[in-house]
Symmetry: C2
């Protein structure tokens, strides 16, 4: 009698098939000779119990490294460091050490990291940003992560994780943008700009689309010339606001792609003598420290970093134990309403 489906090991399969564990391993890896009869018998059991290759690969390892790889673009970006912190806290408590690698949003640097993490025999890889967010990323980089995922469970922090055949976890930007737009509509704003973000970034493209759709629903105006920006930093926010203010007609709100862009936009608006939010309201996104340090404090959408870290940890544990996990988990963010957009309390 086999154990609960979730706890199946390579030895259980071997026992039920009446063969050795190494024979099961040969069927899975496709290396070494196996009779057609045994191959079919074993494959049938693998299918029956939906036994995952990842768990199998792990079961074959002689010793566990207790090591996790965490790849992100740049640890000094608070969005990433906050997520990392919440994950690492849980992982270390469970006895795992986390190797943190800065991929610099460069697929080639990421490839080098992935190779080293494989050599290091990490037990799982968490992947944030970089190629996971890049629109038009080359197939070779997609295939590479897919291939790594076959021997090491990978969790991709992106709504596009499925593209890499990986489990995905991401903030729910549809809900985030709509909470923000509901607040702006409730405050009576009638028009908005979208500042910051790039065309190469999938999350930024998706967010902009959600803003446009919500604007139609709420009867708010977005002109094409009000969608300005090339990156994610305060300098881009400043430049975008400068361009916006040159126009003959400006919108009532500038929705920024993140809090850093919002800080840059605010500084330019204040320098131009505008009153926030009376002349123009400004909103951010991500709920990082900059949103509360700036004057005025910035209305923002805050991912639940604690829940984000917890979900990544749960997914990792499930995959390492060969259990199923949701293909894509979206974490509901909270809106934090502050004076940069608050007209009526």
């Amino acid at each position: 009698m086999l154990k609960d489906k979730k706890n199946i090991t390579i030895y259980d399969i071997a026992r039920e098939a009446g063969v050795s564990a190494s024979l099961v391993s040969r069927v899975i890896s496709g290396n070494g000779s196996v009779s057609e009869k045994n191959r079919m018998k074993i494959q049938k059991l693998i299918d029956k119990y939906n036994f995952r290759p990842n768990a199998i690969a792990r079961g074959l390892q002689k010793s566990r490294s207790r090591m996790i790889g965490f790849v992100l673009p740049h640890i000094s970006t608070e969005y990433f460091s906050s997520t990392y912190y919440e994950f690492e806290k849980r992982a270390s408590k469970a006895g795992y050490m986390t190797i943190l690698c800065n991929g610099k949003s460069d697929p080639e640097v990421e490839s080098k990291i992935l190779r080293t993490l494989e050599e290091t025999r990490v037990e799982a890889i968490i992947f944030m940003g970089g190629r996971a967010d890049l629109i038009g990323v080359e197939d070779e980089y997609i295939d590479e992560l897919r291939k790594v995922n076959k021997s090491i469970p990978c969790i991709v922090c992106s709504s596009r994780a499925e593209m890499f055949d990986c489990i995905g976890i991401h903030g729910d930007d549809y809900i985030g943008v709509n909470k923000l737009m509901a607040h702006l509509a409730q405050q009576g704003y009638k028009s908005l700009a979208i500042l910051g973000g790039t065309d190469q970034s999938h999350p930024s493209k998706v967010k902009k689309q959600y803003f446009k759709e919500a604007a139609i629903r709420y009867g708010m105006e977005i002109r094409n010339e009000w969608i300005i920006g090339n990156s994610f930093n305060p300098e881009d926010g400043a430049e975008a606001m400068k361009q916006l203010l040159k126009q003959s007609h400006i919108p009532e709100v500038a929705c920024c792609i993140n809090d850093h862009v919002a800080v840059g936009a605010i500084n330019v608006a204040l320098d131009a003598g505008l009153v926030i939010p009376d002349d123009i309201a400004i909103t951010g996104y991500d709920g990082v420290e900059a949103s509360i340090l700036s004057r005025p404090h910035i209305t923002t959408v805050c991912p639940n970093y604690s829940e984000y870290g917890e979900t990544i940890f749960q997914a990792m544990t499930a995959l390492m134990e060969g259990r199923e996990f949701e293909k894509l988990t979206l974490i509901e963010p909270e809106i934090i309403i502050r004076s940069s957009s608050l007209r009526y309390k």
Copy 2:
């Protein structure tokens, strides 16, 4: 003939002594039997070449893990994440993977991390904050790091590294504070408060002392009741500024222990209707992003993060190769003068 003193290995010692490498290892570790004659012969060579136990321990390892441990209090604190980033960039280029651990400034959490890093057989440990900065830290925690350093080279990012028998690297706060004070004197300020920091933090205590000494040199007044603060966050800066503003006489400058405290102090000063720097100038420390995001931009002292990371990397490489390195390297910081303290350009 032995090689250059810096490149001595356990095998060189064995060759010159005419014994086996394992005998040399037994003398070093103190485990296993060695004749008194051999013991003295080997010890003499060890002393002659100033051969370091760390390098010896490494030489005995059968395989290298290419793994580095990096312990810091909290990765979301930009001072730490910037240093980590600059180090990791260099380490990964050289083929090392870095395990990043959040010690939460709790010596017990740090102890657990150190044990796991030892089990993981990391080749070096970088230690920032936590017990290294804590005044009155228990002897057991000092001894523990000393002991770890005997088998794994440890670099402590503190001016107190010698206490742990470790190589130390730290920002030169004497120069940092004095560059700041020279600027304030040049701008004609005559009195200052010191806001933020705790009595338990060694760097914060030392910085305050440097401020007081420099104030005497420049003939600037610091009253005891102007030294206020209990921590390192914006809330503490806000609370400290509130207490300062309650006093019948306030100083011309508030020197904050870091940029986050300065942001909190600025917000309270502005809310009280004060003009910065005309009514009160405010300065920060650490050169983090908050200093440029705030309005007005904050005058700050910026560690050279790139040089800091490079020096940690160089020290690590030297120790792993059994080479000598400076006991304590102080990194000279730069002052960034901004509108929060600039009266005359």
